[in-house]
Symmetry: C2
Subunit: 205 residues, 2 copies
């Protein structure tokens, strides 16, 4: 599907098939089959990617897995028009959110730093930190969806405040992305866009 | 090293050894051996993770791979004191940056959207978009470092403006993270901190 990259393949420990599954052959899907995504699969994805590192082990990413017909009907009006048809075709859609009160879990998840919760409670940069680390976890999540043999369809075109009110009202969670999940349907792929060359993105000093 | 998770393992297509390599057994290293990380490895990591999706295929992440003794000496004073010894022990450290002018590449990387560059040039949310998508790519990068059989040591404790002036002055790049890369040295691991349970982080509706 993509140009093979034998040098890359050989320089990495990860099995070449896994490289393809997670990165080189994986694609953003724009249509899905009706095949459902079960609870066990959702749990397995989360239980894999939760091990990825975050600052202070804060793990601010939260997921609302929108799957029932009722919940899906509530989600669609808050998406950009161009994102509705593909989302309607997906068997499951993650609303990915950042928990701006992630510090409440620090005594449990970062137990050696006694004052971390209180210091973070008073930190005006806490929401930015929650969003930044949840975005890193979104990277892990997309890899994890692919690890499950499923296609991910991450989207930035949505009404964040509308989704917040619809699904997260009364919580400290703020939506940062919406990601369709499922098996790719007919005409799921747009032509693959080029990536920046090594020399355009990396300098060794 | 971690509790095995047979249900997770079985519910995913990715080989269990690869699940361990990338997530379950991979750890944030806090000390490194002197074994160098060569150009070929740096290139292979980038050429794998560049395929991960970003909004408008904007790919705002840029990397400065700090490796020479001179460059390392320039980096250390800008790190939080607690991050200096481990960074001094690492054979290579990525300064991970977001290109706030990523839109200049849109005609090449998002060619079907004719007006994208100009629209983004006038978009006051462009820097936030660059930082958000570079953070997603940072998630891919950490996975890619582990795919190379190396340990990653991501850090948030640094003087961003100091690093910007030292390594990125006169460019539209802003640092978002610093990540040590290498083979784990003696006493590289802190005790592993717990992760949030599925029920704490995910709701299915």
């Amino acid at each position: 599907m993509t140009a093979t990259a034998p040098e890359t393949t050989r320089a990495l420990d990860l099995d070449p098939d896994a490289q393809d599954l997670l990165f080189r052959e994986a694609r953003t899907a724009n249509a899905f089959t009706g095949e459902p995504v079960g609870d066990e699969r959702v749990r397995a994805i989360y239980e894999l990617v939760r091990w990825g590192p975050t600052a202070m082990n804060g793990q601010p990413m939260r997921l609302v897995a929108v799957r029932s017909p009722e919940a899906r009907a509530r989600l669609l009006p808050h998406l950009a028009e161009g994102n509705r048809a593909k989302t309607a075709s997906a068997p499951l859609t993650f609303v990915v959110a950042a928990d701006t009160d992630f510090h409440e879990h620090l005594p449990a998840v970062f137990p050696h730093a006694a004052g971390a919760r209180d210091a973070m409670a008073a930190n005006p940069g806490r929401e930015a930190m929650a969003r930044f680390n949840a975005a890193i976890q979104l990277g892990y999540l997309i890899v994890g969806i692919r690890a499950a043999g499923l296609a991910a369809g991450p989207m930035a075109g949505f009404d964040a405040e509308g989704i917040r009110r619809e699904f997260l009202d009364g919580t400290p969670l703020v939506p940062i992305a919406v990601v369709n999940v499922g098996h790719p349907g007919p005409d799921a792929w747009f032509p693959r866009n080029p990536r920046l060359a090594f020399e355009q993105a990396v300098a060794i000093v």
